[in-house]
């Protein structure tokens, strides 16, 4: 029940922001559609209902902290690209390679987060995920050496206390 209320509130907030109209007619429409979507598909947003709300909140806060760190990595990554693209000698530093990276992350969401994070950090893009193997395209040797598993540790730390039994 608690999760249904949470889903409904999130949907309703999204509705209000995107509609921008606060008269009775439009808010009623919003309540009806958010309610309908909650009723038919509330189990899509939060799969595992056994986790308590406070754990969820902790995860959400750590995720937000991680995303801020990631944003900083994105800035570094772009300065990197800018240097390679604009300096005359930059092209000599472009020595692309494809490396294999093994991960111990279990759930789909963690894997998705790691793949997206690899793509956003300097000089590396995930090409393929086959099982636990990531195939990563790195633009130079330095970029390939940067994949030292720090990101994986950070992601594992976000979901540390729900690792067992999480779907």
């Amino acid at each position: 029940m608690l999760y249904r209320i949470l889903t409904f509130s999130l949907l309703m907030a999204t509705w209000l922001i995107f509609s921008g109209l606060f008269d009775a007619f439009h808010v009623t429409l919003g309540i009806l559609s958010a309610g309908f979507v909650t009723w038919i598909s509330s189990d899509l947003l939060f799969e595992n209902r056994t986790i308590s709300l406070s754990t969820r909140l902790g995860q959400a806060l750590r995720l937000a902290h991680y995303l801020l760190w990631l944003l900083w990595q994105v800035v570094l990554s772009n300065i990197d690209i800018l240097k390679l693209a604009l300096s005359p000698s930059g092209l000599q530093k472009v020595q692309p390679r494809i490396v294999k990276l093994q991960t111990s992350l279990k759930t789909d969401f963690e894997k998705f987060l790691l793949a997206n994070s690899i793509t956003l950090t300097p000089g590396t893009i995930t090409i393929k995920i086959l099982g636990n193997d990531y195939y990563v395209h790195a633009i130079s040797e330095n970029a390939a050496n940067g994949l030292d598993g720090e990101m994986e540790r950070r992601i594992a730390a976000i979901f540390a206390n729900t690792k067992r039994g999480a779907s």
Partner: protein
Amino acid sequence: MIYDIVAVILIAAGIVFFLGAAVGLIRFPDFYTRMHAAGKGDTLSSLLVILGFAIHEFRHFDGSGDVIVFLKLLAICAFIMLTSPTSTHALMDAGYEDGIEPVIGEGGENALAETRKTRKKD
């Protein structure tokens, strides 16, 4: 006033990163390295430009209409953060599946080559 300055700085920085992405797209040697420039350059530069718009909208923070526009722009930022790396990855994957051979630099290796061989046997 201060909002205008911050907004202009953010938008200008975004345009500089767009320039880097565009030049990289032309100069880099193959499809995959070009995706590095396009995929990452676009993420940050569109984020910065949209954030600049959001802060510009924030400058008269009294009517509810402005708050809504500000929140909508932030929502666009969140969507770009999520979708841009995913689409970059999808393009790289599609390119590889289509048989575009990556340029491999000095001392580099192509770890994916083995998977391609084993799959062709199937």
